[in-house]
């Protein structure tokens, strides 16, 4: 007689595991033999399979399995067991205080940066949540393609608005123009104001609180504004400003028609006042019908609640296809939801504060680079101490603990440590918060105080960190063989050893990277400060004219004793430059940098004329001459500077003649290469006076400047500063960069050193007897130190060996992007960084090994 199918039975038995299924299998067998009497073997077998499968997925088996797992040898986690794990974890952590503190401190440092990121993200997610219509508001963004250049802008042409209103899904279209450049004339000086030109429906679509006046009526009249309370306080010292007028710097008057509460700071708009669209100044108003030029123009739409975004998007696509078919510029429009504006893709000319996704990703990578090594430390130290815990695990397993339970026990322990660390990280977070906020560009649109959302993120993050740090040791301990564990045979020669080494090397690679970057960027900063720009920068004071007539300033300041000579120009050299278009008789017009100066400028700044002559003191009313630089001569392919003299170029419609050639100098910041440049002479364009001074008492000199300035222009404050300081300020971003790298490097280094310390302490602890015996046999302290530390020395050499070329290459790639004239990574940088890292690491190692090596062998050996 044939037997029932074995495989089906095996599957069922395997699936049932500990559950009791004897009666079920018996039933299946019995049914099989009943079927055999009336049916063929194949059908009976098939029916057996069907029965087995029906049992496999049955409610009955599920229940029996659940019941079985609650039996004597339970493999699930009950509340009581969880309490036990927690208790064991706390006891074990308390017993090994030193390691617990090391671990918790390292993790706290590692988590602190991530907390900053999380708090930032959690706040940015609340952006624009105060608008009641927020779910249905979209902005139109545009991707503009001109030739090969393709750029994404937050702008959209206002002429598109009419087409959008034709769509039945569009409830309202809001046009905003951000070209508000007005300053208010007040007795204490000019006060700039931030504002938008908007239409009355701006207030229908977006939610703002108007406290006084009729805002809608205000926004439909020219030269009327809605002002925010803080701006009202700033200008009038009161919020009851209805009907008052403001005098603008441009000469116009505007009437305050309504007052509104300040908008919440978590807004992607940033304004102090709203001006009516009818007040839009001429050049902006006249371009509002153009499809290709639409700077400062923004469009927002309110869609019907039932509207589909994809339909609206295809409507936009159609418009852009139709409109730009014949134009040289192609623009593709896209609807972007209000919630995606603040934390969205990188766009040019965003209307207000914006947190670019790319920046967030860089930040996240940095946070991970700090956090992960801290987690590795925990992993490292836990596995290194496996020996101490092996007996406990062996016993647990012998008494019926299964893999999952041991795994869960160690995860619990890690989570406990992580939460201790989390408290430390919170403390660090509170200290770092303000400093961090200062470094951000849009910091005034940010509030990092604790919210419920943030707290939830923090807790989830702490839990997640615990899991990441604990998963490896937990898996390792879970998989221990109880017999080996009880015989103390784990750990030696296991793969865990290699993992530990790899993790340590990884940490030091990061630390070394930070140190090397710090050294190189510091050198780059010094390099920029001490750079020979090709002009004199010492003892020159720049004074902004602020509208005062140049010759008056010159006369007034020449009277002062320290002032040796005075020159005039249109800008401060070396900080930035302006371009214009010029054309010679043969070639097309090209873009050239230029600057307006007087005849004193070239001698005052110590520039060298290599051919021709300087401007003369008697500048005519009409501009006639220019002085070019060497690069100009070269790029126009003129053989010698002398030959350039007398050539004429068409500049902005007038023919100007070259009368001199100056030696190349850095008219632009070091980020830019020296290119074609020329000086021109037009007193009407002067905005700066440059004074060559010689004095020992700078303070008295500046007070004198102030009094003399007040004779000329009492309405404004004097704005004078040393040229050298202005120039150095231009490289201040390096100081910020150095601060950031230094701080991150400090964190990374702290974490690596803590990790190293943990390993050394542990290995020294386990080798106490060996060292004592060696000592008895005559090993010297130095010998012992070397013996104990050579393993770590090797790891650090590995780390430097890997990190040095990688970091050096990365910096080599980055430097020219930061600055055209830049230093390179030298061997010395690597040597210095290696010395710093090795020094710190060896200090850490020897502080521990020395203690063990110095111990009296009699003390350690006596106890056995």
């Amino acid at each position: 007689m044939t037997q029932p199918p074995k495989l089906a039975r095996k599957i069922l038995e395997w699936f049932a595991a500990a559950a009791f299924v004897e009666d079920m299998l018996g039933d299946l067998d019995e049914l099989y033999f009943i079927h055999l009497k009336t049916k063929s073997t194949a059908v009976a077998k098939l029916l057996y399979w069907r029965g087995a499968m029906s049992l496999l997925f049955s409610y009955a088996l599920k229940k029996r399995k659940a019941k079985a797992s609650l039996g004597l040898y339970s493999s699930s986690i009950s509340m009581g067991l969880l309490r036990n794990y927690f208790k064991v974890a706390v006891r074990s952590l308390y017993q090994h205080k030193y390691f617990t503190i090391l671990n918790a401190f390292g993790l706290a440092v590692g988590m602190s940066i991530s907390l900053l990121l999380l708090s930032l993200i959690s706040y940015v997610q609340t952006y624009d949540d105060f608008h009641t219509n927020r779910e249905s508001i979209y902005t139109i963004i545009s991707e503009r393609t001109e030739g090969v250049e393709q750029l994404a802008w937050a702008l959209a042409p206002h002429v598109l608005a009419d087409k959008l209103s034709e769509n039945s899904n569009v409830k309202a279209v809001v046009r905003i123009n951000s070209y508000f450049r007005e300053e208010v004339k007040l007795p204490q000086g000019l006060i700039p104001l931030r504002g938008y030109y908007v239409e009355p429906n701006f207030l229908d679509v977006f939610t703002y609180q108007v406290t006084q006046g009729n805002a809608r009526a205000t926004l439909s009249q020219p030269n009327h504004i809605v002002i925010t309370e803080s701006a009202a306080l700033k200008i009038f010292n009161t919020t009851h400003v209805l009907g008052k007028t403001l005098e603008l710097n441009t000469g116009g008057l505007v009437v305050v028609g309504a007052v509104m509460k300040d908008h919440p700071i978590n807004s992607h708009f940033d304004f102090e006042l709203l001006a009516s669209f009818a007040s839009l100044p001429q050049p902006q108003a006249s371009i509002s019908d153009q499809w290709t030029y639409f700077d400062f123009q923004y469009l927002y739409v309110l869609l019907e609640q039932t509207a589909s975004v994809s339909d609206f998007q295809s409507y936009l696509d159609k418009i852009s296809d139709d409109t730009y078919a014949k134009l040289p510029v192609k623009v593709a429009f896209q609807a972007q939801h209000l919630n995606d504006i603040a934390l969205g893709p990188d766009l040019r000319m965003a209307i207000g504060p914006k947190w670019e996704a790319s920046g967030m990703i860089v930040f996240a990578v940095i946070a991970a680079m700090i956090l992960l090594p801290a987690c590795f430390n925990y992993t490292n130290i836990s596995i290194a101490r496996a020996l101490k815990r092996a007996k406990e695990i062996g016993l647990r397993k012998t008494l019926g603990g299964v893999k999952f339970q041991v795994f869960f026990q160690f995860i619990t322990e890690t989570v406990v440590v992580t939460f201790i660390a989390f408290i430390g990280a919170l403390v660090l977070f509170y200290f770092m918060r303000t400093e961090f906020q200062k470094m951000l560009v849009a910091s005034n649109a940010l509030d990092l105080s604790l919210t419920v959302r943030m707290a939830c993120y923090f807790l989830l993050f702490a839990l997640g960190t615990g899991l990441v740090a604990g998963i490896f040791p937990a898996l390792y301990f879970g998989g221990l063989n109880p017999i080996q564990a009880l015989k103390n045979k784990v750990h030696k020669g296991s793969s865990a050893m290699r993992v530990r080494k790899v993790l340590t090397v990884f940490q030091f690679i990061l630390s070394f990277g930070f140190i090397l970057s710090l050294v190189v960027f510091n050198r780059q900063y010094q390099y920029s400060l001490n750079f020979n720009f090709g002009f004199a920068k010492e003892n020159i004071v720049n004074v902004a004219l602020q509208g005062t007539a140049p010759h008056l300033v010159k006369n007034e300041f020449s009277k002062l004793a320290p002032v040796q000579s005075v020159a005039m120009s249109s800008q401060v050299m070396g900080l930035g430059y302006y371009n214009t278009w010029i054309k010679d008789s043969e070639n097309d017009s090209t873009e050239v940098a230029h600057m307006y100066v007087d005849d004193n400028y070239i001698p005052l700044f110590g520039l060298t004329l290599i051919a021709g002559t300087n401007f003369t003191a008697e500048a005519g009313l009409v501009e006639k001459f220019i002085i070019v630089n060497e690069a100009f001569v070269n790029e126009y392919k003129i053989a010698t500077p002398v030959e350039a003299i007398g050539k004429t170029y068409n500049v902005e419609g007038s023919e100007l003649q070259v009368i001199g050639v100056v030696k190349n100098f850095h008219f632009a910041p070091l980020r830019y290469p020296i290119k074609k440049f020329f000086f021109r002479n037009n007193p009407a364009k002067f905005t700066y006076a440059h004074l060559k001074v010689s004095t020992a008492d700078a303070f008295t000199m500046f007070t004198d400047f102030e009094t003399h300035w007040n004779n000329l222009n009492p309405e404004q404050k004097v704005a004078a500063s040393f040229f050298e300081d202005d120039l150095n300020d231009g490289y201040n971003h390096y100081v910020v960069l150095l601060k950031i790298i230094g701080f991150l490097g400090l964190l990374a280094l702290t974490i690596s050193v803590l990790g190293l310390l943990g390993m050394v302490v542990y290995s020294a602890e386990t080798k106490v007897k060996e060292i004592s015996i060696r000592k008895v046999f005559g090993a010297s302290v130095l010998n012992l130190n070397y013996m104990l530390s050579k393993e770590y020395l090797k790891l650090i050499v590995w780390a430097v060996g890997i990190s040095a070329p990688v970091t050096a290459y990365l910096i080599y790639l980055v430097l020219p992007h930061l600055q055209y004239y830049s230093t390179t990574v030298s061997l010395w940088d690597v040597v210095i960084s290696t010395a710093i890292l090795l020094g710190l690491a060896m200090l850490t190692v020897w502080s521990q090994t020395n203690k063990v090596a110095m111990a009296n062998p009699a003390d350690t050996l006596r106890s056995e």
Binding site: E22, D23, M24, D27, E30, L31, S54, L55, A60, L61
Partner: protein, 108 residues
């Protein structure tokens, strides 16, 4: 009525009651097949029995291993007091509906 009793559950309970001492998986299934013309899989039957046990309508014990079962024991079932009450309630509810029904219900 305190507990809802499904139609299949009622049938299984009654079948177990009818089988008396010989109520176990196979016999119940065969009986349901021949008497009630209900062909249900062994998995579905065990699930129903499990539900009835959870409701406290059945109790069970092991025993009676035979050759054709590969020497494996059977699980016998017996209807409990609560089970008897539940089927009785179900029956009385139906009887009530029968007497109340306005339409003449008769089977020719």
């Amino acid at each position: 009525m305190k507990t809802y009793l499904g139609e299949l559950e009622e049938l299984v309970l009654l079948t177990i009651a009818a089988l008396g001492e010989e109520a176990y998986g196979v016999s119940i299934q065969q009986d349901l097949e021949t008497r009630c013309n209900r062909n249900i899989s062994i998995g579905a039957l065990h699930s129903t029995i499990t539900r009835l046990e959870e409701k406290g309508f059945l109790k069970s014990w092991l025993g009676g291993a035979t050759q054709e079962r590969g020497g494996r024991s059977k699980r016998f079932y017996e209807i409990t007091q609560a089970g008897k009450k539940a089927v009785a309630e179900a029956k009385s509810m139906r009887d009530e509906l029968w007497t109340l029904s306005k339409v003449k219900l008769s089977v020719k």
